[in-house]
Amino acid sequence: MEVEVTSEELMLQAKNGDIHIRAQAFSRLVKRHGDHLLRYLSRKCGDKTSAQDLSQEIWLKLFDTRARYNVNAKFTHYLFKIAHNHFIDHYRRNKNKIRPISMEVVALAELSMVNDTELPDRQVEGQQTRQEILQYVSKLPDEQGAVFLLKEHGGLNIEEIADITDTSKETVKSRYRYAKEKLQSSMSGYE
């Protein structure tokens, strides 16, 4: 039975292996964590194209800074820290530009235009619910949204999120509690 190599081990291979090992290890890391990172960025950016562009930039940044990777740190902690900081830089650079409409809003609008006769009611309802939760997440204040997304997409704990967002553990906890309460309140009609 093949033992699965951890992401931390793959990162070390990407850091110290020969040229082929490095490329292989990095490819496995991109495949393993690419979806989660892309989803995190999609929620943060609100548009697919920017999320993909940022995703590519972040993976390249991770590769360029792999020498600084400390094996004691969880790989996802390292990855999402780069992602969080890179997004902030990107946001600062582009804050004066017109932001595209959130893709959650677009998806929701498209869904509402679907003829009810084309899809069973329950399916439409389910899709609508899922799109609405994305919309509610996108409406969370930035700090609360960041904590929620780092927890849900990064799978990070309080300490790791506190480190990434440069805040205390108590602040992370309270931000997450507020985010959860807002989402629960917004979704209460869908139980």
Partner: protein, 225 residues
Amino acid sequence: MSKQNDNNTNDEFDSDIEISRLFHEASNEKMPSHLHDSIMASIERSLAEEKENKPNSDENKHPFPLSIFKPSFAGLVNQWSVPLSIAAGIVISVSLFLNNYDVHQNQDLNFLGADKKTEIEKSTLTNETPLEVMNYEVLKGDSGELQQYEIDSLRLIRIIEEENNIYGLIKTPDGAIYKVSVGNILGKNNERIIKIQKDKIEIKGSVKNRDDRWVEINAEILLSD
């Protein structure tokens, strides 16, 4: 993903299972394969550049130790002519410095005066030093030059032969060198050289004993190593 196995997890940081499920069902984008390919193409390009710019790595040994250069200089240093030029520059600089250092040393000696210079130079002479570079004075009989020193403080540094005569070169504690021959007087007790052999000088003198009477003594000065 939604549940954390963390010691610090508590009620406030627990996910709402239903919201978490709905959220993950909704937020389910997949990384398109073209994005993965594009990322990997860039990575492979970077790796190829790294290999090119770090020629002393295990993959491509380079005769020059380039690890001292920062990565930004790696491309420049990769050309063989650059490290060669740097090495040549270092050699020239060191040569100029050493040359300049010698000039200053000589200037310092001249400043001290010719006598001092002679002494310093003499003090470095040994029995390994070629004879022609030695600067010595010929001792004349009992001129008193070597009578101011204790016999024990004088060193025999060379035995020389000139025109069938044999001489010894004696070095004083202050670095002066004298050429001596049989009959010369040296030492505070006015010992006289009676014989010069290939490895020593034999001397004879007179000292007063406890009874205040002169007694004859024999001594040797051996050739120094």
